[in-house]
Structure formats: C-alpha cells, structure tokens
C-alpha cells in the first residue's frame, strides 16, 4: 500500500489488486469519518478527499488497514434483469468458442461485485466475469450505445445508464433504472454491491 499526495486535502492510496482496493475502500467507509468528503475506488487506487485538516484522521484509519483482508461489511444485493439480444452476442460467443446459449448461461449465473463507478453517473464496473467472457473492446467504438445496454470489456461487465459513446461488446439490454438524479438513492449500483443478472425471456 502506497500513499500518494493529491493536493492539500486528498490522498491517493495505491494498491496491487482490485481485492485490495475493496479492502481499503470498505475499511475507510466503515470508519465513517465525518472528515471524509469523497471516497473513490478505481482499478488500483482509492482516492480519499477530506475537509481541510481531515487527512490525519484518514491516515490513522489507513495505518490500521490490512489490504489483504476485507472488512466484513454488509453488501447490498442487486438483481438486474437482462434480455440477452445484444448486437455483439454472436461475436462474444465466437470469440469464447461457445454457443450463444452458453454466453447467456455464463453471464447470468456468475456473481459479481461493483468494483468502482466512473465514466458516467451510475456506470458501475462489475468484476466476477467468467474467464471466457473476458474479451477486448471493439476495434472501433460505437458513437452511441443505447441506454440500458449490457456489455463486457476486459475483466469487467457493466450496464450503460444512459446513451453514450462506448467500445464494450454488447450482449444484452436491461430496463433496470440504473441512474435517476431525482431519486433519493440515484444510482442503482455503488462500490461493494453484489450483483447478478437474471435472464428475461
């Protein structure tokens, strides 16, 4: 675990794996420090932003973190219904060397965790993708991916909360309300949530 200075009131915690990211994020979240303004996990880092003067309290929590051990926190369980009819379903199947049905079975039977959010509000990067579905992005990104599209890229799967450009391979579509800024809880997915996808016929 390495701490990198990030201005006067933030620290970037650098670790070696997504598991360590989740361990650090969960530990800082569990401490519920009033000084913390933002707690932003990413692929290999956790950014902690505080009110002025709040870094010492964060440092004390970080000193006690064992990145190899995940704090036992209650995780939310989210089920996302998916129609597996995406435009890249055949491509994903042929790349994986399996029939389309098997892509659907693999994707909908795995258990995922939201590693982090980014790219757009409510866009969660989910880990736990079965090995055959870990595939590169499209050679040329789409200028518009429809809202609700479910895709895979590298070790991640995700659902697009709104129409944006995107290069992920699209395997399906969901009507789940992924992000609505007027809701009390605007984002369906937050870091640490457990997620599974359910097949909609």
């Amino acid at each position: 675990m390495r701490l990198r200075r990030c201005g006067t009131d933030a620290v970037l915690v650098e670790v070696d794996s997504l598991d360590e990211v989740e361990a650090v994020r969960a530990a800082v979240a569990a401490a519920a420090l009033p000084e913390v303004v933002e707690l932003v996990p990413a692929a290999r880092t956790v950014l902690v932003t505080t009110r002025p003067g709040g870094l010492a309290a964060v440092r004390r929590v970080l000193d006690a973190v064992d990145p190899a051990r995940r704090a036992p926190v209650a995780a939310r369980e989210v089920v996302i219904p998916v129609r597996y009819d995406g435009p890249d379903l055949e491509l994903v199947a042929s790349t994986a060397g399996v029939p389309v049905d098997e892509v659907v079975r693999l994707h909908s039977s795995a258990r995922y965790t939201v590693a982090f959010c980014g790219f757009a509000p409510g866009f969660g990067y989910l880990v736990g993708l079965p090995e055959p579905l870990r595939q590169p992005r499209l050679d040329s990104p789409r200028t518009k991916v429809p809202a609700g599209s479910v895709g895979v890229a590298g070790e991640y799967t995700a659902a697009y909360p709104r129409a944006t450009p995107g290069g992920w391979r699209l395997i399906g579509r969901t009507d789940a309300p992924l992000f609505d800024p007027r809701r009390a809880e605007p984002a369906l997915l937050a870091p640490g949530d457990r997620v599974r996808f359910e097949v909609v016929a």
């Binding site: 990198r4 200075r5 201005g7 933030a10 933002e38 990413a42 290999r44 870094l55 790219f119 509000p121």
Partner: protein, 301 residues
C-alpha cells in the same frame, strides 16, 4: 405574504448562463462530478449581500448578455469581475432592489469571464443529489438557461446586507498558479523543474470541465514512456497531462476518474482565478513546497 409565486423571467441569456450553487460533492464514487460555481467566493459573496445562505443557488453568467425581468420584489447582487449592471436601462450599483416588472441587465465584464447573480430567496429549481448546479459534463441539474425561462425564487430568509459599493474581483494580465506535486509527479522527468520552467497560454478550448493550456509539453520519465495508467480518482484542480504533454487543469465539472497521470494539484484557494482567466492569457505554474508535517504523513520511511 402574497400568494403569487416569486420568480424572475429570463429575457436573454447571453453566451451561457447557468444555475449554480456550491455543487454536489460526496457522490464521486457513483461517477457524479462535484459541479457548482467555478468562482465560489464570488457566488458566496453575492448570496451574503442579498441575505441568502452562502450556498444558495444563483446564476453563473459567462461574458454578460443576461437580461432578467423580476416578477416579484427582490434584492439582487452581481459579483465577480466588474461588469455593467443596468436596471430598466439605467446604470446601477450592485446590490440593488428590483420591483415587479423591473428589468436587470448584466453586461460583459471588462476583464475575466464569469459574473455571479444572486437573488433574494435564491433560485428554487428542484435539487438533484442535493444541489441545483448545472453539470455540463454529466447532464445532472437544470439545463442551461434559455430565453423565456421562468426561474422560481425561494422565500427570503435574511435581510440584505446594507452595502452599496463593491470591490470587483481583480483579474490579472498574467496568472501564476500554485501547484502541489503529486500524485503522479514521479511519471515525469524532474516534475518540479519542468513545471517551474514551463510557459503556457490559456487555450480557447477550455470550459467548466477543465482549463486547457497550450505551451511547454511536459515530458515523461523514460521508464514511463508509453505506459498506461489504470483510471484513478480525480480531484478538482488536478493538473492532468495527456499524451501530447499539454496540461489540463480540471474544474468543477471534471470527470470523477481519469487515465492520464496527474502531475500536481492546484489548491482550492487558487481555483477561483482559473474561473476568470480568458483564453490567450499567459500562465505559469509555481510548485509549492509540501508542508513538512504532510511530507512525513505521506511518504512513510
């Protein structure tokens, strides 16, 4: 109290007029930028002058051109760099009072970019994630103002401050911007030396997401050439260096994560000046020494 809802009507917006308050920090882990006024002290001052809490929603007006009609009695203050303020075509000092039917015009500032208009009671459009700020990156918050919009006002909560002369924000001809090194200064060959020696001008491609600088390209250290950085969290003020070496300073509507190395961070007190700097302005970066207690905190032996 009267039964008629308090409001103002936007007659003309000028180049860009947005509803802004102090933003919605605390949601970056959901991919939501902080947003909020770029020149926060100017918005806070305008609010204090009209008796509002500092964080009430007001208007951020880019290069003037705004005309409002009051539909109710209200107090208005215009802050930021000096700009002409007219009520019914007559020059007035701000803050001032508007009677129903009065028209307020805010002209282009003499220097700088953004003026802030506070109205007693605050702009009372619905809040999203606890803020009424327009976020131009993510589309959260109200749309940019359009001619003909009617903006509801809240009920005044405090008396206007009895001030009748304001000192406008000073906008320098050349900007020296302080930077704290990190988190990825080690990706650059002599980061402090390069930042100190560099000379830039403010690009005309900047916006509320970030200020782009044109000039000295910052060089990566040989061991980091061509390397990719997994995306990581960004703070407001982060000086990110894309592949072409031309720095971008992120402002309030910045993406929550980014994949280019951040060589340093501009501390918050220096950010309001960046809200006012016009394209073409010469700019230098000045590396701040790390406070000693923080150096110990951050780089354990």
């Amino acid at each position: 109290m009267n039964a008629v809802a308090r409001s103002v009507t936007v007659l003309r917006t000028g180049p860009q007029a947005l509803v802004q308050d102090l933003g919605r920090p605390g949601h970056a882990h959901l991919g939501v930028p902080p947003s909020g006024a770029l020149d926060r002290p100017s918005l806070a001052l305008a609010n204090r002058l009209v008796g509002n809490p500092e964080g009430a929603a007001g208007l951020e007006v880019l290069l003037g051109g705004l005309v409002l009609r009051a539909n109710a009695s209200c107090t208005v203050a215009v802050t930021g760099p000096w700009a002409p303020v007219l009520v019914n075509g007559v020059h007035r000092d701000s803050p001032c009072h508007l009677a129903p039917g009065d028209e307020l015009a805010v002209g282009a500032p003499e220097a700088g970019l953004r003026c802030y208009v506070a109205l007693s009671g605050g702009v009372a459009v619905p809040a999203e994630l606890g803020s009424r700020a327009t976020d131009l990156l993510s589309g959260i918050g109200p749309d940019p103002l359009r001619d003909g919009d009617e903006l509801p006002l809240g009920d005044p909560v405090g008396p206007p401050v009895g001030v009748d002369v304001l000192v406008p924000a000073h906008v320098p001809d050349e900007l020296v911007v302080p930077v704290v090194l990190g988190p990825r200064d080690d990706w650059f060959d002599g980061a402090a030396r390069q930042l100190t020696a560099g000379r830039w001008v403010v690009s005309d491609r900047g916006n509320r997401v970030g200020l782009r600088l044109d000039g000295t390209a910052l060089r990566r250290a040989p061991e980091h050439l061509g390397r990719e950085l997994p995306s990581e969290g960004l703070v407001t003020g982060a000086v990110q260096v894309p592949a072409d070496g031309q720095p971008v300073v992120f402002l309030a509507d910045h993406p929550t994560t980014g994949g280019y190395p951040v060589i340093g961070v501009v501390p918050e007190p220096a950010l309001p000046a960046l809200a006012q700097v016009r394209p073409g302005t010469p700019l230098r970066l000045q590396v701040l020494p790390a406070p000693p207690e923080r150096a110990v905190d951050y780089y354990p032996a």
